[in-house]
Subunit: 655 residues, 2 copies
């Protein structure tokens, strides 16, 4: 049966991977079509996106593709109109059918994986609405990315498929590995980066670290990405919309410039998350009932002024493709034209950076499916390219300077595209506070093997700045801001008190001494009056030594089995000499060795036990006598009362 169970697990994982891959492929195609329909249509083949319509031709001089009108201003109005329609539809869908499909979802998934329950957050409805709303939101041109939502729909797939199997429906903790594994697949299909996905699930999502979980993430990512590759949604045989390779090596004199990019990433992360939290607070307070109207206005704002800047108008992935590009003979874009005026180009890039930051700050968290990864990368990329162009023009004017003595005389020395690439890494790392994951994702996006050291340097600088002045990744900040119940397993804690400060006193405990045995009626009344998920069992009220612990659900099950018995029947919670033959026997469900700690135990250590061992509760004793009980919720409540005044009533713990 162990073999069957293990085989079943792999089948489930494969099914999840395939479904995630199929959804991702479909979304890619739909997003591309919706995005291009804003600027025109394919004559005769209305269902083709611009890229497919102009297949094999240059997009500029493509014969099949027509703009909506020959009149520029009308085109502009249609562009804005369709954008508004798309975002409006997404907002309506989210509001009507699944409010939990709004936003990115990563914060909530972290909490769920760490052991808390949020009803419906990972259900079929959320999956459906997130999958439909995501392409609408992205194609509408809002400053949102697909990575967070991809993780969310992937985890929905994992949860929904796991729940089809009885044993996972009953135990949330067993299903958790599937959630981690599918989160890896979500990132994998979003970025076309299977290893990046695995590392994301390790570094960001998983709360405990087990090799078996990594191996499941790996497998699920691989299946999802292979499915996506087999669907070949871009018809280029590639997993990502673009692939860049750099042939030139970097130089040591560029390291200070990499440090500048890293500093930008750190500042970007700190500024955007700080102001975004303020916007979210404002939205929560004043805009809660105007979600659709808010999206409408955001979309209007974004579409109407993005139209006039190339890097804002284009889909962010397409913009990055241009920005990352090395200027060579195969690539004829104004950005590479050596004769073009540098100042307007720079102004355009810097404007795009600032505008992207502003749009991201006001957009992230609005009520459509919305990720923040890609906008952050896009902002970093425009900044990086601007810096690269400045450095390159300095080089062109000072070729004989001793700084540039290592540049090869014939070839190019400064590749502005690599600065854009590193800027994207800095932006991503700045907003997420991730390191290893970012390096691997950037690496898989571009295969820029030669640039691994620069990427690592940039990310290290960004991370240092975030550690020193920032408050962690945006997902963690959102968790704190929303008062979500989450203890980060991978960080260290400092409390300066003992468990006594945070524990709850025991209100109800069942006696095991037959002389004090309670009746079924008393038990039922206790069950209906209290909502605890379990009850300690003590020896007797005069000798309250710990005898064990019973969980509520199991007590209810036993009571149900004895349904016919009289209400006066006594309950046996562990006594070896029964008082009457007709007692209700709870001994089989009694956990005789519950986790117990001394009342003098430091709270820090208790937290560590919760995080690393994952128990539901710990009994607190003093010389063997029960004096209290502590749950994760107690620790969190204590932490919140200590640090802030957030709503802790929303906290609901699983198991």
């Amino acid at each position: 049966s162990r073999l069957i169970s293990s085989t079943q697990n792999w089948f489930l994982l494969a099914a999840m991977g395939i479904m995630i891959g199929l959804i991702a492929g479909a979304l890619n195609v739909i997003t591309a079509w919706l995005g291009s329909i804003r600027v025109g249509h394919c004559s005769g083949n209305f269902y083709l996106s611009k890229a497919f319509c102009c297949w094999g031709q240059d997009e500029e001089s493509c014969s099949g593709w027509s703009s909506w009108s020959t009149f520029g201003f009308l085109n502009y109005l249609i562009y804005v109109g369709i954008s508004l329609f798309l975002s409006f539809t997404a907002a309506i869908l989210v509001k009507t059918y699944a409010t939990s499909a709004a936003g990115s979802g990563i914060s909530e998934i972290k909490c769920i994986v760490s052991g808390f329950v949020m009803e419906g957050f990972l259900g079929w409805w959320t999956l459906l609405i997130k999958s439909i709303g995501l392409p609408l939101a992205i194609a509408s041109g809002l400053s949102v990315g697909k990575e967070g939502p991809s993780v969310h729909y992937a985890v929905c797939v994992g949860n929904s498929i796991a729940k089809l199997v009885r044993k996972y429906r009953r135990s949330a903790s067993k299903a958790r590995e599937f959630l981690t594994a599918t989160s890896a697949a979500g990132v994998a299909v979003a970025f076309g980066s299977p290893m990046g996905g695995v590392l994301f699930s390790i570094e960001e999502i998983s709360s405990v670290f087990q090799l078996s979980t990594i191996w499941k993430s790996y497998f699920c990512s691989l299946v999802a990405v292979t499915t996506l590759a087999a669907m070949n949604p871009f018809r280029t045989g590639q997993l990502v919309l673009f692939e860049v390779t750099y042939d030139t090596n970097w130089h040591y004199f560029e390291i200070p410039l990499y440090i500048v990019i890293g500093i930008f990433g750190g500042i970007y992360g700190i500024v955007v998350s700080k102001f975004n939290i303020r916007v979210v607070a404002f939205r929560k307070k004043y805009l809660a009932n105007f979600a659709v109207r808010e999206v409408f206005i955001l979309s209007l704002l974004t579409a109407s002024f993005s139209y006039f800047n190339e890097y804002l108008r284009l889909d962010m992935t397409e913009a990055m493709q241009i920005l990352f590009h090395e200027c060579d003979s195969n690539f004829s874009h104004p950005i590479c034209d050596p004769n073009s005026k540098k100042i307007p180009l720079l102004a355009s890039l810097i404007f795009a950076t600032v505008a992207r930051m502003g749009l991201t700050i006001i957009t992230y968290g609005c009520k459509v499916p919305a990720g923040i990864f890609v906008p952050s990368m896009a902002a970093g990329a425009t900044f990086g390219r601007a810096l690269g162009i400045i450095v390159d023009s300095y080089y062109q004017n000072h070729k004989d300077s001793f700084i540039f003595q290592n540049c090869s005389a014939t070839g190019r020395c400064i590749i502005p595209g690599t600065y854009a690439f590193l800027g994207a890494a800095a932006g991503l790392s700045g907003i997420t506070d991730l390191t290893v994951t970012v390096v691997i994702i950037m690496f898989e996006l571009t295969g820029a093997l030669r640039y691994i050291i620069p990427t690592m340097i940039v990310v290290a600088i960004t991370k240092s700045i975030n550690d020193k002045w920032g408050k962690g990744g945006i997902a963690d900040q959102m968790i704190k801001f929303n008062g979500l119940p989450h203890i980060d397993a991978k960080e260290e804690f400092t409390f300066d008190t003992t468990v006594e400060s945070a524990m709850s006193t025991v209100l109800v405990a069942f006696p095991s001494d037959p002389n004090e045995a309670i009746t079924v009626e008393q038990l039922k009344s206790t069950l209906s009056k209290t909502k605890f998920r379990g009850y300690p069992v003590i020896h007797s009220s005069t000798n309250p030594k710990i005898s064990g612990f019973v969980s509520r659900s199991e007590v209810e099950l036993v009571v149900k089995n004895y349904e016919g018995v009289s209400n006066d029947t006594l309950c046996n919670f562990g006594s070896t000499n029964p008082t009457s033959a007709s007692e209700v026997d709870f001994r089989s469900i009694l956990n005789r060795s519950p986790l117990t700690i001394n009342i003098d135990c430091p709270l820090e250590y208790v937290l560590e036990i919760f995080v690393k061992m994952g128990p539901r509760y710990i009994l607190v004793e003093h010389e063997g006598v029960l004096v209290g009980i502590i749950t994760r919720k107690d620790v969190l409540r204590y932490e919140y009362t200590l640090h802030s005044s957030h709503d802790v009533n929303a906290i609901q713990q699983s198991q």
Copy 2:
């Protein structure tokens, strides 16, 4: 002071990274020179290796480089003679100065990082001898790699530098993060793969998982690799000896072939580790006193018959460079010649695979610095190339088959080099049982972005086979075989018993009741008669409730402070009403809330506590009364008595 401490940590890590990078650079240069001196010398510039001597020229027609003699057989004798001399020197050095410098060292490092002490294993002497012995052993042509030893010398650097600081000299647990971080740097410099190093430290070395440790590994790897890159030991600007890129995409019909390669990897891992363990057992039993002679004979055997096969004679990295290569116009090697006879080529490759396996089985574990990663990759590469050549020749003869319909008509379809590349991944994964690390290392070695899915498929198949029929990676098998004390934190455990079966009964406990207080003389006698690292404190012998725990070292410190007192003075272990004014007070060192569990607690859970929480001991109680004590050593002893009959007296636990 917190800031200073943190700054100090980063300085230490940077110092470690720089030192590791410098050593790695020096070793690369020395190894290349020693390796090429076996076949000839550079006229006029004796100190140059063949690659530097022939810089800018074709190595075949290089004017500066001369063979030792014009007479072929004499060359052969000189080749064998120098090989023997090199390996002999390495063996003598290891035997005379640092026996712990033998072998790979990864198994032992895993144990040390998980909390056990091995005196001298990570000292300056080991560092010195490992660094000198490694190039000698590799250049001698023995079937050994440099990765395991690189990790070992890197961790020696980490340990030795950390020990220069007082606080890390005193606390092994605090120094442990440095060991993990430097192990990452070790792999990073050996493979030129900084991210692979980080993942190696996560997947293989670290016993608990904390983001701060990952971040330290990342930083240390980055510094080490940047130092190595700045030294530029190969003068190619590259971190690895070779860089391969593939321009052609893979095809779906190749997946079954990738599965074959994956199966090879699994079989390779299982066969090599199984027979290697037997050879190691034989060596331990019969060859313990003949370590140098054994190395001499191994070297004679290897050198004398490797000379006649190109893939065995060459340095393994050079051989892999050739094997990985795509056949194009820039690469004129017999392996790519379309007119060459396929049968002798195949025979040569298959012979090299089998011989490499045999040599690795008998060599790994001999008394010179020796890793098994690169030999495994080399064996996989020859196998993969052979398979690739077979498939390619089938394709050449059946171009019209429907299988090959997706091959582009003009270009090449089957790239045998990619099969060699995937074979190397399979070999590496088969022997180490690692997944994520292997994919990232292969990726960083070659930048083969397009081949990430095939690599993942191959590694997944290898891993599945290992999981089903193998016994884990060679490092873990060596740990078990040698009876080293190690609990793998990342695996799940199954014991079907309670803590009672494995715990020790308490032989000595100090009473806190003043009426039973022991005298200083009694205490001293107890300390000298027993070797425990700590003692429980109970209420009194008639009421043995747990009062706390004192550690031996702190008790000794208190005793030392009270040196002048009479031997009749009573000891106070926690009483609040002292019996006499002149008592020796141990209350300040008493841990009043030691970790305690119930005697009915499952042993599995206890093991989980040890692994995840890392306590030194757990007290076992029944209704508040002390009934036993359990340490990691007890759990391991129980496991060993259950599973095998290894020597458990060698186990020594830290802290």
